[in-house]
């Protein structure tokens, strides 16, 4: 079975997640972040999936519907929403471990021996089948899916691990600067169900909340669990904050990134909206853009991502920007390094200029 966290990193994406979960944050022209992990699970034959939600999950429920578009509308399996199970002695959860405890009745299902637990902010095209096979063969309690660090960026990582040549984890580092010869966790873990159930009972009785720190690292340091790493060698886009969200959208203009994420035999699904193809008018000048269906374009756009149903008026100029679904850009407007949320109206002649590190953000439904 699969478990997906929809809210855990909400606070890091600022205005973009004011009214939605990180899972339902639009990405890449026509997707929501959760489409990637959900499609990966569906394509890997994981058809019983719990989505742990906390708040603001209306947009997520609207997006997923009956999950038909992900081929997860099943008779006996399918997707189950797991809202907070807040009772008198337990409030709304703080960490992943606590969140998982609130789903304990869902997880404790004897039909499933393994549980794949995933964040929704790490975007990749990953087949879980070989990872689960790896987990079973390793004989370990938990397998961490991680990407080998190839070049060392100057930033912190939530979860770094070192492993020996038999893929056994030898060190866990949390919230530290990325260093060479390590693997960076992708927020995806494979548990044997019994191990996870024991962990959740223990966490509940001891008041532990943080999955990586309070469980994985502590137990590892106590030498009471065996951990294995499954190294993923495909493209990974990790939307940790607004600059990385912006950069990762822009990365889709790169053919190798697109080819790594979108594969015909392992597709990323999303909600079908029955939009018409995009119309390029007489005066349109579109260069180096990713354009979804349903747009009407008369102006200029360069190095940008246009979501479904965007309209660009004549003489409007859009550079290096992300324009979400249904947004209208007026005549003569100039946008550079901007993120316009859904259904924004940009008045004629408006100028909005940001930088890649600090893109201008216009919130959903506003007029600029």
């Amino acid at each position: 079975m699969g478990i997906i966290f929809s809210n855990i990193h909400d606070s890091s994406l600022g205005e973009l997640t004011n009214n939605r979960t990180v899972a339902s944050l639009p990405f890449g022209g026509r997707y929501r972040q959760i489409d990637f992990v959900l499609s990966n699970m569906s394509n890997s034959g994981i058809n019983y999936i719990g989505i742990i939600t906390k708040y603001n999950y209306r947009s997520l429920m609207d997006h997923l519907g009956s999950c038909n578009d992900w081929d997860l509308n099943r008779k006996n399996e399918g997707v189950v929403f797991l809202p907070p199970f807040a009772t008198g002695d337990m409030g709304v959860y703080k960490g992943k471990l606590e969140a998982l405890y609130s789903a304990v009745h869902f997880i404790n299902n004897p039909r499933y021996d393994y549980v794949v637990v995933c964040d929704s902010t790490v975007l990749c095209n990953l087949n879980f089948r070989p990872a689960i096979r790896h987990h079973i063969q390793s004989g370990c309690d938990v397998t961490v899916i991680a990407k080998k660090v190839s070049e060392v960026p100057d930033r912190k990582s939530q979860f770094l691990i070192k492993a020996n040549n038999r893929n056994r984890i030898t060190e866990i580092l949390i919230d530290t600067y990325v260093r060479p010869d390590t693997y960076e966790g992708m927020g995806m873990f494979i548990f044997s169900r019994k191990v996870l159930m024991e962990a959740l009972e223990e966490a509940y009785s001891k008041g532990l909340t943080h999955l990586e720190r309070d469980y994985l690292q502590r137990k590892f340091n106590e030498n009471t669990i065996k951990l294995s790493v499954y190294a993923f060698d495909g493209f990974v886009l990790d939307n940790q904050d607004i600059p990385s969200y912006y950069a990762n959208n822009m990365a889709l203009l790169n053919k190798s990134v697109r080819d790594g994420l979108f594969k015909n035999d392992f597709p990323i699904y999303t909600k079908v909206r029955d939009e018409v193809p995009t119309y390029y008018g007489e005066g349109s000048r579109i260069t180096d853009c990713l354009v979804a269906d349903g747009c009407t374009i008369h102006g200029t756009a360069e190095n940008s991502i246009l979501f479904r149903g965007v309209s660009v008026a004549p003489d409007a100029q859009i550079y290096s920007s992300i324009i979400m679904q249904g947004t209208k850009v007026g005549r003569g407007a100039v946008l550079e390094c901007a993120i316009l949320d859904k259904n924004v109206t940009v008045r004629d002649g408006t100028v909005l200029i940001g930088t890649p590190d600090h893109p201008v953000i216009v919130q959903k439904g506003e007029t600029a």
């Binding site: 026509r30 029955d274 390029y280 990713l290 354009v291």
Partner: protein
């Protein structure tokens, strides 16, 4: 009941191994999407699709009808192919015979009225209004009609109707048309009347079992209550290569003849999972439709590029229709052509040409068939089919 049986032989290579209603249209649609979506938008929830020619792709496309909202447990969409019966087994022998062979299907739903549609017409229409007028007129049969220019009238079934729209005469493809009201091939029948006339038509060995040739003239001759329902919107029969091309071109422009984008009466289709289309820096696109999943490096003018196509650098496409998943390689030039689904046009090929350089009878749309590969540097003249 959607008549989708036709081979569409006038569409040449485009229907070599697929049924006509499965032909791609407008970048991401197929012909069958139009009557199906019209049905759904008109509140019709039980639909039969009658087909007997190469139904594989059509069956797969329709599936359980989910993309059109027709996956209901009571009714929904059914693909009806000919089947063997205890006494006999036969193919559909004509439009009326196809419906006749499915009387038992219709009977299961106890219909008051049955709507007969064609699977190869491009139009948006609310059948609910037509059915309302059918019921108000207490009609036995209501036929949707379109005003056509008198010089084209001899290609159609022509109705003569009085001021109350009651039909008193019907001529099938007349040499000297008496009216300009042309049948659109859309019939609303009272169920008992349909059943009676289909049964009688089947027993008549002289009949060619066709609605236009036999059933409708018989109703008129018997003095039944036939009414015309006038339709004023866009309608196109796409039975030929040039009409299919023209209907695609009618989607383009600032004020297109057929506006697919309006929120009312949306046309639904089965959507495959493609990312957005990537438009490269060296590309140029003017007055064109480009569907998702396409990658464009070349130049595109007044054309329709369907889902999943690749147009390489320095390729040029003018006034053409490129169907899904086609590949247009570098330096090939395509003018006034239809490139079939999954076809590949290799580099430096030249396909089709402008009409102005040719005598009228020697020019037509050039066609590359489904899954065909046009070799490098091949020249395909207008009207030619590969």
């Amino acid at each position: 009941m959607i008549l989708a049986g036709g081979q569409g032989s006038r569409l040449t290579v485009l229907t070599e191994n697929t049924a006509k209603p499965a032909i791609p249209f407008g970048g991401k649609y197929r012909l069958i999407d139009f009557p199906l979506s019209n049905c759904v938008n008109s509140g019709i929830d039980t639909v039969g699709i009658l087909t007997q020619y190469q139904p594989l792709q059509l069956n797969e496309y329709i599936g359980n009808g989910m993309p059109w909202g027709l996956n209901s447990s009571n009714g929904g969409v059914h693909v009806l192919s000919p089947y063997s019966k205890s006494a006999s087994s036969e193919w559909y022998r004509g439009t009326a015979n196809a419906i006749y062979q499915n009387i038992s299907f219709m009977e299961r739903y106890h219909p008051a009225n049955v709507l007969i549609l064609s699977g190869d017409h491009i139009y948006k229409m609310n059948y609910a209004e037509m059915l309302a007028s059918h019921v108000n007129n207490k009609a036995d049969c209501t036929i949707a009609v379109l005003d056509v220019p008198i010089e084209e009238a001899s290609r159609f079934g022509i109705m003569s109707a009085d001021e109350n729209c009651k039909i008193y005469e019907f001529q099938e493809k007349p040499k000297e048309p008496k009216s300009t009201k042309a049948s659109m091939g859309i019939y609303a029948f009272r169920w008992e009347v349909l059943k009676k006339y289909l049964t009688e038509d089947n027993e008549d060995s002289n009949s060619s079992n066709d609605f236009g040739k036999n059933v409708i003239p018989k109703l008129v001759a018997d003095g039944r209550r036939l009414f015309a329902y006038e339709f004023n919107g866009y309608w196109k029969d796409v039975g030929t290569v040039s009409s299919l091309w023209q209907a695609n071109m009618d989607l383009l422009g600032e004020n297109p003849l057929l506006d697919m984008g309006e929120a009312r009466n949306r046309i639904y289709s089965r959507n495959y999972s493609h990312p957005g289309s990537y438009i490269a820096p060296e590309s140029e696109i003017v007055n064109s439709y480009i569907a998702e999943g396409s990658t464009v490096y070349g130049k595109i003018y007044n054309s329709i590029i369907s889902t999943g196509c690749l147009v390489e650098k320095d390729a040029e496409i003018h006034n053409s229709v490129v169907m899904p998943n086609a590949v247009i390689e570098t330096h090939s030039i395509i003018r006034y052509a239809i490139i079939g689904e999954d076809a590949t046009v290799h580099a430096y090929a030249k396909i089709g040409d402008d009409p102005e350089f040719y005598e009228k009878n020697r020019w037509d749309i050039a066609v590359v068939g489904r899954e065909k590969e046009v070799p490098q540097k091949k020249i395909l003249l207008p009207k030619e089919v590969y």
